[in-house]
């Protein structure tokens, strides 16, 4: 299991990654994150929804009600252009972070 402390700064990036492929709703996003991480990371409900709140407040995503033909009304999310820019920044940031951290890891294969 990955400790949530390490991954905290990148939860938002993961959600944006999923949304880049198209609009989606809460459970689908968390399922996709689980699949994308090969079931190594499961995002908790509170983490997911804190991230939605934060991303929406910053204008990186938008929410809207999807009209379900059957079943319940779901809140869908889509990424904004601002969110796409932010995602790219985070990717660059991660490349540097990864490089820096790796320099301190003995067991990594160079």
């Amino acid at each position: 299991m990955i400790s949530s402390d390490v991954i905290r700064g990148y939860n938002d990036t993961m959600i944006l990654f999923i949304l880049l492929k198209g609009e989606s709703y809460g459970y689908e996003i968390s399922k996709n994150i689980k699949a994308q991480s090969d079931e190594k990371y499961i995002m908790k409900e509170t983490t997911l929804y804190s991230a939605f709140e934060r991303l929406e407040k910053n204008g990186y995503i938008e929410s809207f009600y999807g009209d379900e033909t059957f079943g319940k009304r779901r809140t869908y999310y889509r990424i904004t252009p601002k969110g796409q820019v932010y995602y790219k920044e985070k990717c660059e940031e991660w490349n540097i972070t990864k490089d820096v951290i790796n320099r301190f890891m003995k067991e990594t294969d160079k």
């Binding site: 459970y27 499961i42 409900e45 983490t47 929804y49 804190s50 319940k72």
Partner: protein, 323 residues
């Protein structure tokens, strides 16, 4: 599934009920439901599915800090109660309603027995061998005995309800419990309406006992008074018993007339009621015994009722206007 609903209710219990919060909670609920259904379809047992869903919920504090909720200023000091607690409260409330009803009934019975015994003695049906002094005291014995029992019952039921004082102060009801209570209340309302109608009819027809008995003879009218009092007593018992259960529902559901907002108003009206009605009974008994006005003295009850109704309506309106 109900376990998950309750779990989420409890998690959100201390958070403010803003539109944003309700929306967020509904979203999370949908999310958890989806996950639960999928786990069940994948062949997990009920227990396993619930376990996984709850373990993947996370920590509510994460949401609290993200949403910038200041729990200190908006803190909900009201207690959250469970379905079982709500059920016990209603059972106790109905028991205490019955006890208080019986107590009040006994008070009426005490007055009736005094009148009855005095008349029986006067008609020389009982107590023929007693001295005239003993005759005077004779009727008072059941009066005091019955009133003493009634007071005992009042104190006992008051003490029993004391531990539910926190419910009367206002509580927080999780939505699943709330809908359960609401359902019970809805099915109770018709019963309540019928009992009020029965009670009112009893009071309205009670003077008939007096008319009939006065036709039958001078002395018989006193027995009519006894019957009138008993009919009123039954009606009052019905009002108190069914009213108290309704009040219990009202307090749990925080229906307007029982909410904090109007509690003060209720207290004033309640205080006036507790003075006015015993006073009316005193006047009734006084006029009856001292001036032998039994045939007309009963009129104080409907008059008091109407005046009191006017007072409480006027008071509510005036108070309402002030706000």
């Amino acid at each position: 599934m109900e376990t998950i609903t309750t779990y989420l209710d409890n998690m959100f219990a201390r958070l403010p009920k803003t539109a944003q919060m309700i929306d967020l909670k509904n979203n999370i609920m949908t999310n958890m439901e989806d996950k639960y259904n999928e786990l069940k379809e994948a062949g997990k047992s009920e227990h396993e599915a619930i376990g996984i869903v709850i373990s993947e919920f996370g920590n509510i504090d994460e949401l609290v800090s993200e949403l910038d909720i200041n729990l200190d200023t908006k803190e909900d000091t009201r207690q959250t109660i469970t379905k079982e607690e709500a059920d016990t409260y209603l059972t106790e409330k109905s028991k205490s309603g019955s006890l208080i009803g019986i107590g009040v009934f006994l008070c009426f019975l005490a007055a009736a027995s005094l009148i009855l015994i005095n008349q029986l003695v006067a008609d020389q049906i009982i107590g023929k061998d007693l001295s005239s002094k003993a005759k005077d005291v004779f009727g008072l014995i059941p009066l005091f005995l019955l009133v003493a029992i009634a007071v005992g019952i009042f104190i006992y039921s008051g003490m029993k309800m004391e531990k539910y004082a926190y419910i009367e102060k206002g509580i927080h009801l999780p939505s699943s419990v709330k809908s359960y209570i609401q359902q019970k209340y809805d099915s109770y309302t018709p019963t309540y309406s019928v009992t009020v109608i029965i009670g009112v009819c009893l009071i309205l027809i009670s003077p008939i006992a007096l008319f009939i008995s006065s036709v039958m003879g001078e002395n018989a009218s006193t027995y009519g008074v006894v019957i009138l009092l008993l009919m009123v007593a039954i009606a009052v018992y019905v009002f108190i018993y069914y009213g108290s259960l309704r009040e219990g529902y009202g307090k749990l559901l925080e229906i307007d007339e029982y909410s904090n907002h109007t509690k003060k108003e209720e207290k004033v009206i309640g205080a006036v009621a507790s003075i006015v009605f015993p006073l009316a009974t005193c006047i009734f008994l006084f006029c009856g015994f001292v001036y032998s006005l039994w045939y007309i003295a009963w009129i104080v009850f409907p008059i008091t009722g109407i005046l009191f109704g006017m007072f409480s309506a006027a008071y509510s309106i005036i108070k309402g206007n002030q706000e």
